[in-house]
């Protein structure tokens, strides 16, 4: 029975084994934030993101996950080579800019950090609410590496997307109404001309 079971499993696993070879324990998805919340310690939650870039695995942790203006926070960055797990040991410089599509990015240097117990730590304090992009940059094997990660300080943009959606809807409806009126007007003119051209 066991032999049969194994054989069956092998056959049905073939398709997958053909495609995928690696097996590992699950953790959160690459490049997406995971929040660590703990009610036992009275510490605010932290945010952690894992990602990979070039030859390096990068893990960065922001503490607290949701900083308020004026609140001290820090970013921890861990960088290790994908092939052999060796930590990067050079300098990492941190900059910050406004997370805006249009307008002034207002880039500022936060600092340059050396490795300290396998971790690069960069402190920050933001005075104003808003969305920011923190960039960690380093150079390895003659190639530049930059890692951007967004940070929301204080309250978010709130209901702006709703206002944009409403504006699009109102614009669409007004446009349709204008076109409808023109269409009705054209039909009226056309029918009036037809009536005029018909002999009495």
């Amino acid at each position: 029975m066991r032999k049969y079971k194994n054989k069956m499993l092998r056959i049905f696993s073939f398709f997958l084994i053909f495609l995928f070879t690696a097996q590992a324990a699950a953790h959160h998805v690459l490049g997406r934030p995971a929040y660590s919340l703990n009610e036992d310690s009275n510490t605010p939650p932290s945010m952690q993101v894992e990602t990979q870039i070039g030859s390096y695995f990068i893990t960065y942790m922001v503490y607290p996950a949701f900083p308020r203006p004026g609140e001290r926070g820090r970013v921890n960055v861990y960088a290790s080579r994908i092939d052999n797990g060796q930590s990067y040991e050079g300098e990492i410089s941190f900059t910050v800019k406004n997370d805006v599509l249009i307008g002034d990015e207002n880039k500022e240097v936060l600092g340059t950090q050396n490795i300290d117990g396998g971790v690069y730590r960069q402190g920050f304090v933001f005075k104003e609410n808003g969305g920011y992009i923190i960039t960690a940059s380093f150079e390895a094997d003659g190639e530049p590496y930059t890692i951007d990660f967004p940070l929301q300080v204080g309250d978010g943009s709130g209901m702006t997307p709703v206002l944009i959606a409403l504006a699009v809807i109102v614009f669409a409806l007004i446009s349709v109404n204008v076109l409808q009126r023109r269409r009705i007007m054209r039909e009226k003119i056309r029918s009036a001309r037809n009536n005029e051209s018909q002999p009495e």
Partner: protein, 524 residues
């Protein structure tokens, strides 16, 4: 955190069932002897005690309006919480309600109620309230009509737009990770409403529901397997009808939003269960009916090229959902990303995986159909074309996709919705606390169904899917005049492979869509 997989003994029960059924097919056992398909529909209006309830449910405009108001209120709450609440997905009602409850529960609702969701869909409701307010402002004699009533262009009048949207939605859901972002969930909700409004403002009837909405079309195709349908009570009344209120509408009631003529309706695919036809028919000749489950997919739904592709891609994307929740997925993605030099959120690698997961089953299915065509055409007087077999036999994919989708979603729904009701006390999830161990215990001990019951239901669903697929194969091959049972072997092997793969995936530990729920903070 992962969910435990289906125990091996259940998998072997299903595989045993599949083996026996396959053997029965190859030995030409006529399953129609055991068939329930010959049973007539049960008209719910003609059942003594049920009919008043059904009549009230379908004829009352107020009831539908109340349901719509409730759903719209929840939908607006999702948008508000998504924009203003915590970004922690497990603690925000936007993500939990949208992805754990609605998205998972929607598929389960089709099994019992067909396309009922479409009747209360908030996207369409909000669009209708914006564009065609004449019905709800009738009291004030305001007859606004903000629609240009244009005919949709020819390229749009198929399910291709919905198919593209469906692939896009899957990419956003599993690749971009919209399910783990309350903010992006709210944005997606807004985008869908804007698309529904703009579409309704431009085109006549409900082009968005008919051609574009990926959710509506998914519901539509799965509804071919549902046990309920809206159909004429007496076909002769429809045959003699000259006014066709179901199609044209009346002074009080809108026309069928997807332009269906009740007298000629044979499939649920485009019915949105809006109830306009039941309300507008002057002869009260349209009624909800109970029918043999899946009869439509097995024998009466007509094959079309674009619809065939939708069904096939539906199968591939359903399987893909499962694959991305396997533990090996992320490491496979990482390995692939290293090969191609992808970085960040690995969206290029994910997209490649998505495309590959669609191409492989489609390629295998096309190959299977080509072999079937060659075998069945050899020596036959009337040759069958590839397209004809492709579109006819594609219905086998529908029960396979549906049963796996149900079994998979059952896990999400039962395990991940534990404590979700508590989120209504703090929908924005502000000041939430968390205890990993407590949450795990809460999930395990507070599930609506026991773990063994979930496993049993999953096994039954997989058997149901396979059984229906075999019935489809038998019936559709009869319709194609493929008489030699050996010619069906490639399609049978395809069905076996797909269902076995689905069972194998159910046996694996499944990564949770969202994390654990849900401890209400003492500091609210």
């Amino acid at each position: 955190m992962t969910h435990p997989g289906l125990p091996e003994y259940w998998a072997f029960v299903v595989w045993g069932f599949m083996f026996l059924l396959s053997l029965g097919l190859l030995l030409k056992i006529d399953f129609s002897r055991f068939s329930y398909l010959k049973q007539k529909n049960v008209n719910l209006y003609q059942i003594k005690f049920v009919s008043p309830v059904i009549i009230f449910l379908t004829q009352s405009r107020w009831l539908l309006l109340v349901l719509k108001l409730v759903v719209v209120a929840l939908f607006l709450l999702v948008i508000y919480a998504g924009l203003m609440g915590t970004p922690v997905p497990e603690r925000n009602i936007a993500t939990v309600l949208t992805w754990n409850i609605w998205w998972a529960g929607l598929i389960i609702s089709i099994f019992f109620l067909g396309s009922a969701w479409c009747a209360v869909c908030p996207w369409d409701t909000l669009a209708s309230w914006h564009v065609k307010p004449r019905l709800w402002l009738k009291k004030y004699s305001l007859k606004l009509n903000n629609s240009l009533e244009m005919t949709p262009p020819k390229w749009m009048r198929s399910v291709w737009p919905a198919l593209i949207m469906f692939v896009g939605l899957t990419w956003l859901e599993l690749g971009y990770g919209i399910t783990t972002s309350p903010y992006m969930t709210a944005i997606l909700s807004l985008v869908m409403v804007v698309m529904a409004v703009v579409s309704l403002a431009m085109y006549k009837n409900k082009a968005f529901c008919h051609y574009i909405c990926p959710v509506g079309r998914t519901i539509g195709f799965y509804s071919q397997l549902a046990p309920v349908e809206l159909r004429p009570v007496d076909n002769s009344i429809c045959a003699d009808c000259k006014t066709m209120e179901c199609f044209n509408g009346s002074d009080q009631i809108d026309a069928c939003p997807t332009q269906l003529v009740m007298g000629r309706l044979t499939q649920n695919t485009y019915c949105t269960s809006c109830g306009n036809c039941t309300q507008s028919c002057p002869d009260k000749n349209v009624a909800w009916q109970i029918r043999p489950q899946s009869r439509e997919a097995i024998e009466s739904a007509r094959p079309h090229w674009d619809e065939a592709w939708f069904m096939l891609i539906l199968l591939t994307l359903t399987s893909f959902h499962g694959i991305t929740m396997m533990e090996f997925w992320e490491d496979s993605l990482r390995n692939f990303a290293q090969i191609i030099g992808d970085s960040g959120q690995l969206l290029v690698s994910f997209s490649a995986g998505l495309v590959l997961s669609m191409l492989i089953p489609v390629g295998v299915y096309a190959l299977v159909i080509e072999i079937t065509r060659r075998w069945s055409n050899s020596g036959a007087e009337k040759k069958l074309g590839f397209k004809k077999i492709f579109t006819s036999l594609v219905f086998v994919t529908l029960p396979l996709a549906f049963s796996y989708h149900l079994a998979h979603n059952l896990n999400h729904m039962i395990r991940e919705s534990v404590g979700a009701s508590q989120l209504f006390l703090n929908p924005l999830g502000n000041n939430v606390t968390y205890s990993g161990v407590a949450d795990e215990l809460l999930i395990k001990n507070s599930m609506l169904l026991s773990e063994n019951t979930i496993f049993m239901l999953q096994a039954l669903l997989m058997m149901f899917g396979f059984w229906i697929a075999i019935k489809v194969l038998q019936k559709r091959s009869e319709q194609l005049n493929i008489s030699r049972v050996l010619h069906l072997l490639p399609v049978l092997l395809f069905i076996l492979a797909i269902n076995s793969f689905h069972i194998w995936m159910l046996m694996q530990p499944m990564v949770m869509r969202l994390g654990a729920l849900c401890v209400v903070p003492a500091t609210i």
